[in-house]
Structures are given as structure tokens and as C-alpha cells.
């Protein structure tokens, strides 16, 4: 964890921030700040020196300009649902954007919306529903996470298999740079000429500034949906079904796998979805689109599952059953959290053909470190979520969990994959960046950050290890950003 400990807060800063946002929106007391000392990732705690919550665009600009004037580092935060420690502010200012919840406009004709960064993902879909539209990227935390946070992390979700990730749905961002300058990235009203700065901004994890508004594409609600549940007696068989379906040219809207440990956790919880508890793996497959031809595709998908060894394939017969099948998947993390005090939700990607091998390897790693790994993931994308429930108050168990996760990350890198598909690097994945990228590549990432934030004040110490940046190395000698 970072060791820098700037002065906790001084009264001048507090007064000046309060003058912008009002006293109630500036937190300085330890007890109040404790709520902001972690995000969705357990095991990491870091208290901000001050937390400030602007309620309007103008207040946000004024706050960031004040921080620029004073040369103070800050960490942007949406709903704090991130799973990589990206929103942790260790002794610096925390800038919460969750009060910026205005949906500025919905343009049904062009299927797009302009929203403030604090708009909750699912709220946007609700607001778009009367127009027959929805916002396609659907992280499991969609009832809480914000669009600003989604843009910062380039968030994914089950339906990204067909519809694409956040990057593919953002047309433009009005960004407030750490300097206080306001710039438009992308072009909502035509093609973008010049460098794709919007593409660089999406997924920059709060290091390139904060979004004041975001223009997103909305997707048309499909005419027809078919949700299938296939159960398998081996994970391997389920993985082969995934490959066969993908190779067929059918593009399911989503294709999610859950292993036995996950199924049992879900079925023992209030989110019980009727999954077969004796299965080694299930696939939850959704097809959507025009009604014409969808049943033919569903029949073929079921045949691919049976061909790969599925014991049974059932199709949801009504919207209620479909919702129930999905609730089990989306609340799987919650269900796991019920069995152990802490849950680390991991995120990595492997090439699709490596799924059977990597799942076997993850199982071996779990045995080696005596931890129980539950897998629930976006199988169609090869995007794994190996999760480990544990008790973070036990130093020994925490250490074994940490070692198991490191081994899993290395195995995914060795398989030609990557260390995060949708959760971001944050603090948690920093140690693996050097296993994945060369010094030259990390240096290029630092150089890009320096263009957006030459003073390195926005979300300092995240994403790229400080010590691996050649230029950073010279500038900041002994500072060391590392994991737990």
C-alpha cells in the first residue's frame, strides 16, 4: 500500500471546499471517512484525508480547479463498487461524483443519451425503457454502479459478448482534466478526426480526470429473447459447448458459466434460481434479436450443448423464469459472500480455447493453497471470475488467498491472456503489470498519462507501477506503489 501521508487536512482547504459545495458535503471526521476507506475489493483499506461531494457540474469544476491551484492529489469515486481498489484514496482528497445524477437528454430517434457521471447504470436503462431502449453494458453491480465509474473502468458485463464493452458504447465525453481544463473527447455528432483521445480516456481509471457528462449509445430492446440453461457433469464439457456455439456463427447475447461451488452457493441463498445442485457446471445462454429464426438458433445451441455432453437443456418459458435464472447469476457474488465474511472477486481473461485447461489449473491452485475457488464468468469471452471466500481477519488465510490469486494471474498470463477484462488494474493488479508488459510499454502508458495529467495528481499510484516507469523513476525516487 502506498506510504505517502500528506497532512491529513487543513482548515483552509476544508473551508474553501465547503464554500463551493456546502459544509455538509465535505467530510473530515475520521468516523465519516471510514465509509470511504474501501471499495468492492476486500483486504484493502485506506482513508482519504477529506471527502468532497459536489452536486453540480459547476461545483465539480470549481473543486477540481481548487485542487489544481493547491497542487493536491485526488481520487475520483463513483459508487465505490469497483473490485480493484481503484477508488481508494490513501491520505488524499476523495472526490465523490455520485450526486451528479442528471440524465441530461435521451434522443430516442438516434438511440443515445447524455448523462452525468453519477447516473446509476440500471437507472439509465429504466429511463430508456419507455422508448424501447436500454443501455447494453450490464456489470453485475448495475443496480449500484455509475456510468462515470463504468467509463473509468471500461466496464463489461454478461451481455457484452454480443453488444460490446463500455468503450463500444461511448460516443463522447466532456472531460474535466486534473488541471481544471474542460475538453470534449469524441464527437457525438459525426465522425472523430484526429487521435482517438476518447478511446484513450475510456478505461483510464480516473487517472485522466473526471467526466462531466457522457454521451452513450443505447440499444434497441430485442423483439425476442430465449434463455437456456444447460447443465453438465464436467467443466470441460461445458467449455467445449461454448467453443462449439461460438464457432457456429451464432452470437448469443450472453453465455455465462458457473461451476459447482458457485451453483451450490446460489442455491443455498435467497437467490436460488433452480440450478441443478449436482451439476459440475451450468451454462446460462441468452439469445436475442428478431423473432424470426431465433428458435432455429436456440435449437442449434441446445444441440451443441447436448453434443458436448449436457445432461439437460431447458429454456425459460416466461419472463419470470428468465429473470429468476439471471438473478442467480447476477447475485452469485452476493450468494458467495453469505458463506464467508470476505470475498475476493477476481478478473482475468484467457483465449477461449484455453478455458478447459485454465479451469483445471485454477482447481489445482486452489488445492495447493487450501482455498476454495468458485468460478462464475463470461465464458463466451474467456473472461474468468475466480472468486475466493475467506476470513480477512486471519493473516494466514489472507496470505494463502493472496498467493493463490497471484498464481492464478500468472497462469492466465502464461496462457496468453490478461490480468483484467473489465475490473481494471487499480491497486490490486499493479504487481502483475510488470509480468504482462515490458518496461517500454509501461513507459508509454506513463507518457500517455502525463499528457492528461502532467502533475500526476489524479488517482496517483494506480494502474501503472510507479517504479516501473522510467521517467517516473527519475522524478520520484523512492516512492513505491505495491499491493498488500
Amino acid at each position: 500500500m502506498t506510504t505517502t501521508a500528506p497532512p491529513s487536512h487543513d482548515s483552509t482547504l476544508t473551508t474553501r471546499l465547503a464554500a463551493i459545495v456546502g459544509e455538509r458535503r465535505v467530510l473530515v471526521r475520521e468516523g465519516e471517512l471510514r465509509s470511504y476507506a474501501s471499495d468492492g475489493l476486500p483486504g484493502y483499506h485506506a482513508r482519504p484525508s477529506i471527502a468532497v461531494f459536489p452536486g453540480t457540474r459547476d461545483e465539480t469544476i470549481a473543486v477540481v480547479r481548487l485542487l489544481a491551484e493547491l497542487g493536491l492529489p485526488f481520487v475520483p469515486r463513483g459508487a465505490g463498487t469497483g473490485l480493484s481498489g481503484g477508488a481508494l484514496a490513501d491520505g488524499v482528497v476523495l472526490l465523490g461524483l455520485h450526486r451528479l445524477t442528471r440524465i441530461i437528454s435521451i434522443d430516442a430517434e438516434n438511440a443515445r443519451a447524455v448523462v452525468e457521471p453519477g447516473v446509476v447504470n440500471a437507472s439509465l436503462t429504466r429511463a430508456a425503457a419507455p422508448f424501447g431502449l436500454h443501455y447494453a453494458p450490464d456489470p453485475s453491480s448495475q443496480t449500484a454502479c455509475t456510468i462515470g465509474g463504468n467509463v473509468a473502468e471500461n466496464a463489461g458485463g454478461p451481455h457484452c459478448l454480443k453488444y460490446g464493452v463500455t468503450l463500444n458504447h461511448i460516443l463522447a465525453v466532456t472531460a474535466l482534466l486534473p488541471s481544471g481544463d474542460v475538453v470534449t473527447l469524441g464527437n457525438a455528432d459525426g465522425e472523430n478526426d484526429g487521435y482517438d483521445l476518447l478511446g484513450a480516456y475510456v478505461g483510464s481509471e480516473g487517472c485522466f480526470g473526471v467526466a462531466l457528462d457522457v454521451t452513450v449509445k443505447l440499444a434497441r430492446n430485442p423483439q425476442a429473447v430465449r434463455t437456456l440453461l444447460a447443465d453438465f457433469l464436467s467443466v470441460d464439457a461445458a467449455a467445449h459447448a461454448v467453443s462449439a456455439i461460438i464457432a457456429s456463427g451464432i452470437v448469443p447475447a450472453a453465455m455465462e458459466m458457473m461451476d459447482a461451488a458457485t451453483i451450490q452457493a446460489v442455491e443455498a441463498s435467497i437467490y436460488a434460481a433452480g440450478y441443478p445442485t449436482d451439476a459440475a457446471a451450468i451454462l446460462l445462454i441468452e439469445l436475442d434479436g428478431a423473432a424470426a429464426g431465433i428458435d432455429d438458433d436456440a435449437t442449434r445451441v441446445a444441440a451443441f450443448c447436448r453434443g458436448a455432453g449436457a445432461r439437460a437443456v431447458r429454456t425459460a418459458t416466461d419472463p419470470a423464469e428468465r429473470a429468476r435464472l439471471w438473478q442467480g447469476r447476477k447475485k452469485a457474488f452476493g450468494a458467495m459472500g453469505r458463506i464467508s465474511p470476505h470475498l475476493v472477486v477476481q478478473d482475468a481473461v484467457v483465449p477461449r480455447t484455453k478455458l478447459p485447461a485454465i479451469l483445471a489449473e485454477i482447481h489445482r491452485i486452489g488445492d495447493r493453497f487450501r482455498v476454495k475457488v468458485c468460478n462464475v464468468f463470461h465464458a463466451g469471452d474467456g473472461n474468468l471470475h475466480p472468486n475466493i471466500g475467506y476470513d480477512a481477519t486471519s493473516a494466514d488465510e489472507s496470505e494463502r488467498v493472496h498467493q493463490a490469486m497471484s498464481a492464478i494471474m500468472q497462469a492466465c498470463i502464461d496462457a496468453g491472456g490478461t490480468i483484467t477484462g473489465e475490473h481494471g488494474v487499480g491497486l490490486d493488479k499493479l504487481p502483475y503489470m510488470e509480468s504482462l508488459f515490458s518496461a517500454g510499454t509501461l513507459g508509454a502508458m506513463c507518457a500517455l498519462r502525463d499528457v492528461f495529467d502532467p502533475d500526476r495528481r489524479a488517482n496517483p499510484g494506480k494502474v501503472v507501477p510507479v517504479h516501473s516507469c522510467r521517467e517516473w523513476h527519475a522524478a520520484s525516487s523512492a516512492r513505491h506503489g505495491g499491493g498488500s
Binding site: 465522425e191 484526429g194 483465449p351 500468472q410 498470463i413 509480468s435
Partner: protein, 381 residues
């Protein structure tokens, strides 16, 4: 060990870039040479030839991903992937002998972008050599990846000015079971209404001007070319839904190759764009101007992009004055991105495309000595 290794291509290219740096001799990056008349004139003293660096580096069909050297042509990629029932759904205008590297560097897209997006949506990673001679591995080879800052998007469409692309990893798709194309005579407004309200998402829906329709052999009036993919039931239903709009004729899929190849060498080409709902109005006005100038046009309605192709009849003053008038009128209609233009017209007609402080900062970071394609974005030296 697990990090990506520097390819031989990158090693050689890095040597060339470092030599250019020492000699202060800027480089013109060239693939098959199909793009040399695109972009502003370059101030380069020597050519960096990427064409020899071709071939597939890694292709595992089950992963639906492929890595190839930058000099590999789109035709070669199509041949290799088709054998596995897959494709890279990118159909930029120009020759299929264009390279993958140039396609990514210029972010070139065609009608298929309507459903598959542009190169930024399909590139998973690339290896490149920056203007400082450093080798960078941006992104990776898997279909989802948010590790670190996105150098892939930054370099896609940067026209080589931030780095010489030496290898590219792309996402492939399985070929649809059926792939049929229909031509329907209809107005731009009706075409947009159909696209907007239809339950069907065509692979492509491209409106072509009468002149273009004549070139393609699809008639003498404006038509909407609709490319439908999917299973039998879906494609038939979608084709049937077109009947209400006008006379529907099935045309050979080769019409798309003909469209890509339809631009005479030396033409002036620019793309106008707007929000899709305003595209029919943009189309009507642009098509009228283009027709008077004896050019042709086609529009990807779903993206709101109109491509205008204007013949250039020589380099004399009168012809330049004529073109200046036409292009100025077109630019007046909306956002414009100019692709190809006689060299003398660039400075007066097109402002620099990367002159904002962030873009200048990016260029300074990756090519501080302006060694890579200098001038192509209209930037100051």
C-alpha cells in the same frame, strides 16, 4: 518470459527509426502504397517500407483471434480466415491488396462498420515502434482486456504518427450461415425509417447515389443495398420486410467488392457525418452537390456517414478552383473528414486534425522529433 517478445519486424523497424532519428531524416511509412494519395502531403526524406513484413503470426480458429504482421494484405487475411469459416468484417474502400497495418493506421472502414464497428472496435492489440525507437506492445490477443492505459485505440487512426505498427491482433467473427444482398429503390428518408424501426439488423445498409448505382450495375437511380446475414428464417423474414418499401432485387455479393473498388485513382474523397437521424437530409444535399460535380456518393445510414467521391480532371488552376468550390460547399453541410485531395488544396481547405493541446501533447510524447509521416495530420513541425 510471458511478456510478448519483440518481433524481428519491430527490431528491424526500430533500427530504421533510430537511424532516422540520428540522421534527422523523417520517414514516410508505406505498405502496399494504396494510401499514398490519402492524407496531407508528407515532409519525409525516406521511405519505411512495411510491405515485406507480412504473414500470419498466430491464428487459433477456436479463439476467433488472429495476429498478423502489419504488411499482410486484407486479401490474404480473407483467404486464411475463410478456410476456417471466419472473417475479419472490415471492408474499407480501395484495393483488397491494402495492408492490415494501413487499414488500422488510417482507421478505414466500409459498409460493414454499420454492424461490426470500425477498426477501433476490432483491434485487440498491436506492436509498434514509437518515434523514439521504443517497441511497445499495446493491448493483447484476447477479446476483453482493460490492463493499463489504452494505447491500442490511441494508435488506431493515428496515421502512423505515434508509432509504426508492426503487428496487429484482431478479433474475428464466424461467417454467417447465409450472406445475401438485396437492392431496393427508395428514398434516404424511407431507408432510415426502415433501419430505425426494423427488428432486423443488417450486416450493412448502404445507400448509393445514381452514379454509383450505374457503376455497380444496380440500376440508374439511388438504391439501398442491404446485406443480410443469419439463418434462413431470419434472412427471409428480413428480406420480406423490405418489400413494402419498394422493388427488391437480390444482387451478387460481389457488389460490395465493386463498391470498395469504385473510386478512381486520383479522386478527391471526403466523408461527411452527422447524427444518423439527420443523415437523410445530409444525404439529399450532399448527393445533389456531388452529382452536379459528376461524382458519386454512398452513405452508411446507421452511422450517419456520407462518402463523397469527386473526379479530379487535372491539376490546373481552373480545376483547383472548381474543386475548392465543391468541397467547400460539401464541408458546409456538416462534420467533414477529408481523405484524399490534390496536394495544393489541403492547406486552404482542411484545418489540422490534431492541433488541440492534448493531441499535440500525445505527439510530443511519442514522436518528439516528428519523424513519422510528418505533415500528414496537418500538424506544425
Amino acid at each position: 518470459m510471458s511478456r510478448q517478445l519483440v518481433s524481428d519486424t519491430a527490431r528491424e523497424v526500430a533500427g530504421s527509426v533510430r537511424a532516422a532519428r540520428e540522421n534527422r531524416a523523417p520517414l514516410r511509412i508505406v505498405g502496399r502504397g494504396n494510401w499514398l494519395d490519402a492524407g496531407r502531403p508528407c515532409r519525409a526524406s525516406s521511405v519505411l517500407d512495411i510491405a515485406p513484413y507480412s504473414g500470419i503470426v498466430e491464428y487459433e480458429p477456436g479463439d476467433l483471434t488472429l495476429t498478423a504482421r502489419a504488411g499482410t494484405t486484407l486479401a490474404e487475411l480473407a483467404r486464411v480466415t475463410r478456410a476456417e469459416g471466419q472473417w475479419l468484417p472490415l471492408d474499407p474502400g480501395g484495393s483488397p491488396e491494402s495492408t492490415l497495418g494501413a487499414t488500422i493506421a488510417t482507421a478505414s472502414a466500409g459498409p460493414l462498420a454499420s454492424s461490426f464497428g470500425t477498426p477501433r472496435d476490432q483491434v485487440l492489440g498491436c506492436e509498434l515502434v514509437t518515434g523514439t525507437g521504443d517497441v511497445v506492445h499495446a493491448g493483447g490477443r484476447v477479446v476483453k482486456n482493460v490492463a493499463g492505459f489504452d494505447l491500442v485505440r490511441l494508435n488506431t487512426g493515428a496515421w502512423g504518427t505515434l508509432g509504426v505498427i508492426t503487428e496487429v491482433s484482431v478479433r474475428l467473427r464466424a461467417l454467417p450461415a447465409l450472406d445475401r444482398t438485396f437492392a431496393v429503390e427508395m428514398s434516404a428518408a424511407d431507408a432510415w425509417q426502415w433501419l430505425r424501426a426494423s427488428e432486423y439488423t443488417p450486416l450493412a445498409a448502404e445507400l448509393v447515389s445514381p452514379a454509383m448505382s450505374t457503376i455497380l450495375g444496380t440500376g440508374a437511380s439511388a438504391v439501398l443495398l442491404v446485406r443480410l446475414g443469419g439463418n434462413e428464417a431470419l434472412v427471409s423474414a428480413a428480406a420480406t420486410s423490405l418489400v413494402a418499401l419498394g422493388e427488391v432485387r437480390e444482387v451478387a455479393p460481389s457488389v460490395w467488392d465493386a463498391l470498395a473498388a469504385s473510386e478512381p485513382p486520383g479522386s478527391a474523397v471526403l466523408r461527411l457525418s452527422t447524427a444518423p437521424s439527420r443523415c437523410p437530409a445530409l444525404w439529399e444535399r450532399a448527393a445533389a452537390i456531388v452529382e452536379r460535380a459528376h461524382g458519386s456518393a454512398h452513405a452508411t445510414l446507421g452511422r450517419g456517414v456520407v462518402r463523397c467521391i469527386l473526379p479530379v480532371g487535372g491539376q490546373d488552376e481552373d480545376e483547383m478552383a472548381r474543386l475548392r468550390g465543391i468541397i467547400g460547399a460539401l464541408q458546409h453541410l456538416g462534420t467533414s473528414v477529408v481523405e484524399r485531395l490534390p496536394a495544393s488544396l489541403w492547406p486552404s481547405l482542411v484545418p489540422p486534425s490534431a492541433a488541440d493541446p492534448l493531441s499535440v501533447g500525445v505527439r510530443n510524447a511519442f514522436d518528439p522529433d516528428r519523424l513519422l509521416n510528418p505533415g500528414i495530420l496537418g500538424e506544425l513541425a
